[in-house]
């Protein structure tokens, strides 16, 4: 009899423990009061020193957590149980969160530093009038390549270069449906937000022709591979390319002329925020010229902060590869939220492309 009770108790204890752990995990962002805020950001995407500086200036303590995909971030906000006060999703995700009513409108009177932002990055189609979001960093999608490892001279001014027969088994693609399908669409001159079946079919067919050149489709491991000369060409984001260049100086980066993706990560206040006032203070702080400059130096991506830009090393800010001028930017496109069906379709096409590799 005792055994039975003991075993039953064990089952109940395990269940209770799991429930407890679950609730604890849910509220790691925990006790956001008036003197703390919780910031939810991508990994390696904010100079930690600035968090201390913010606490010194305002007395608000910052709890800092990171995510690795827009979708993971949204799932956590959507399911509740968290109290993130500021998060930094990408533009298409903001469109989606807006539709799902997951954002709190910003009070512009509490963000005077908004004036520091280059007007080019304000009032964009995904958030007219910056009602919900303020730009944080921006960048492009392009080709990182190592001329030392390539026999022939390539400058990758055109996506078409990737299809060259000389590049057999040389190209690494990033494991992300929108980037790869988008490249297929761009290489044919279509919009990377296309929802036209015929255009998508053409892009899929075009991508299938690329398979002999594809070495692998991987995630963040790309950076290490390029740094160690394991790979010569990679389809990647501008900031990742910069990470590679810090270590391996032979690497170059190009954004092909047919067009590519221009992306923005933005600061928003999710519906679940507990300290909305503190969140505004934090956003305003991050927009300060000196703070933005220091942060951009640390992170490496391009800052939309015009006042901060002036404080930075002109050699960095003058680099056309990472701060392309407006003429080049005109050719680039911002992702739109495609809706669940089209997102599914893009992913299915990507899956089919991957399966065609073998």
């Amino acid at each position: 009899m005792k055994d039975i009770i003991r075993a039953s108790v064990a089952v109940i204890v395990v269940s209770a423990l799991l429930l407890y752990i679950n609730s604890q995990l849910g509220k790691t962002s925990g006790s956001t009061g008036s003197d703390t805020i919780t910031v939810y950001n991508w990994g390696e995407y904010l100079d930690p020193e600035l968090l201390n500086q913010f606490t010194e200036e305002t007395g608000i303590r910052v709890i800092y957590e990171t995510f690795d995909s827009n979708e993971a971030m949204m799932t956590k906000v959507e399911q509740g149980g968290t109290s993130y006060d500021v998060a930094m999703p990408s533009e298409y995700m903001i469109e989606k969160m807006k539709e799902d009513d997951l954002l709190i409108p910003l009070d512009h009177s509490k963000i005077p530093n908004l004036k520091n932002i280059d007007p080019y990055f304000l009032d964009l189609p995904f958030d007219p009038g910056n009602e919900y979001s303020v730009p944080y960093f921006w960048g492009t999608v392009g080709i990182a390549f190592n001329p030392d490892l390539l026999g022939k001279d390539f400058d990758f001014t055109s996506w078409e270069d990737l299809w060259s027969p000389e590049l057999r088994q040389q190209v690494i693609l990033v494991d992300s449906a929108r980037e790869v399908i988008g490249m297929g669409l761009n290489s044919l001159g279509y919009s990377l937000n296309s929802t036209d079946e015929a255009e998508l079919d053409a892009a899929s067919a075009k991508l299938d022709e690329l398979t002999p050149n594809v070495k692998a489709i991987i995630g963040d491991e790309i950076v290490e591979m390029m740094r160690r000369n394991e790979a010569a060409i990679a389809l990647t984001w501008s900031g990742q390319a910069l990470d590679m260049m810090y270590i391996n100086e032979s690497i170059d980066f190009a954004v092909p002329e047919e067009g590519s993706n221009l992306w923005f990560d933005n600061m928003i206040i999710p519906k679940t925020a507990a300290n909305v006032d503190g969140a505004h203070q934090f956003i305003n702080f991050m927009l300060d010229a000196e703070v933005a400059a220091q942060n951009a130096d640390w992170v490496g991506y391009s800052t939309p902060n015009a006042a901060g830009l002036e404080l930075m090393d002109p050699e960095v800010t003058g680099d056309e590869r990472f701060y392309p001028d407006e003429e080049i930017r005109e050719r680039l496109e911002v992702y739109r939220n495609l809706g669940p069906e089209m997102t599914g379709e893009y992913n299915e096409r990507f899956l089919r492309f991957k399966m065609g590799m073998n």
């Binding site: 089952v11 669940p340 991957k354």
Partner: protein, 274 residues
């Protein structure tokens, strides 16, 4: 008076455990699989599974799982056999098992370095004049690493089965004039079949849903059902479709268990005399 009611009482903890941690999760997966992306009740996910993409995916998953199991078995059976013949067999066995205590991800990352363009294998190839070859992101490297990871799980049950084999039966077979090959085929193999079946189970089923190695070692050139589930949940956020694939994976597992299930034929023919 140890009657039925006490027996039933003993079943309560077991029943509660099964209900909470086996039945409930599976029921949830089945439940989710019946809703589409808008949260409407539908069977369309099941219809979608029978479209060409997912069927092809299933076939290729099975093919790779089959290859991984086959090579694991080809290496494990002789290894287990010779292990039982060694003097300190438990020690040798332990040495083979120990690597499986190391985190899977760590081992996988190690292979990225080993197979790399500048890794030791390519350095060796260069030294003997073959020249460096692309090893990473090939079918070969994928199967090699997977086999390496599954071998300890395959060896263990086979080792136990061979170890339990009564040596008198082999002697008898020889005395009656059977050649070594016949002895193996007619005596040793049938009597250790249960170990082989368990080994196949613990290799084939996880191999069906490998997904991390497919990316890190095969560069996503090999796609398994596991990859598809991960994508549906994390990227597409189509939990319905992800659950549907998971339901089929569970079904496949049941079928495999059915085929490799142990038939209780009484211990006398297998075990050493007790």
């Amino acid at each position: 008076m140890q009657n039925k009611s006490t027996k039933a009482l003993y079943l309560i903890p077991y029943g509660a455990w099964i209900l909470l941690f086996v039945v409930a999760p599976i029921a949830l997966v089945v439940y989710y699989s019946l809703f589409d992306i808008h949260g409407d009740f539908t069977f369309s996910n099941y219809k979608a599974f029978f479209s060409s993409v997912y069927l092809e995916l299933t076939l290729s998953s099975f093919w790779y799982a089959f290859l991984i199991t086959l090579f694991s078995l080809l290496i494990s059976y002789p290894t287990a056999y010779f292990l039982t013949k060694t003097k300190h067999k438990q020690l040798w066995l332990l040495l083979i098992i120990i690597p499986s205590w190391i985190n899977l991800l760590l081992k996988t990352y190690a292979f990225i370095g080993i197979f790399g363009q500048y890794g030791p294998i390519n350095a060796f190839f260069a030294a003997i004049g073959i020249g460096s070859t692309q090893l990473l992101f090939t079918d070969f490297s994928f199967i090699f690493v997977s086999v390496y990871i599954f071998i300890p799980f395959m060896i263990l049950p086979i080792f136990n089965a061979i170890d339990r084999l009564n040596p008198a039966l082999i002697d008898a077979s020889r005395d009656l004039g059977a050649s070594p090959w016949t002895t193996f085929r007619r005596v040793i193999l049938p009597l250790t079949m249960n170990g082989v079946k368990s080994g196949i189970q613990v290799t084939f089923i996880p191999a069906l849903s490998l997904f991390m190695i497919t990316r890190l070692i095969a560069g996503n050139k090999v796609i398994t059902l596991g990859t598809a589930i991960e994508q549906q949940f994390l990227v597409t956020q189509n939990w319905g479709m992800g659950s549907t694939i998971a339901v089929f994976l569970i079904l496949f597992m049941f079928i495999i268990m059915l085929f490799t299930g142990q038939k209780e034929k009484g211990g006398a023919s297998v075990g050493k005399t007790k």
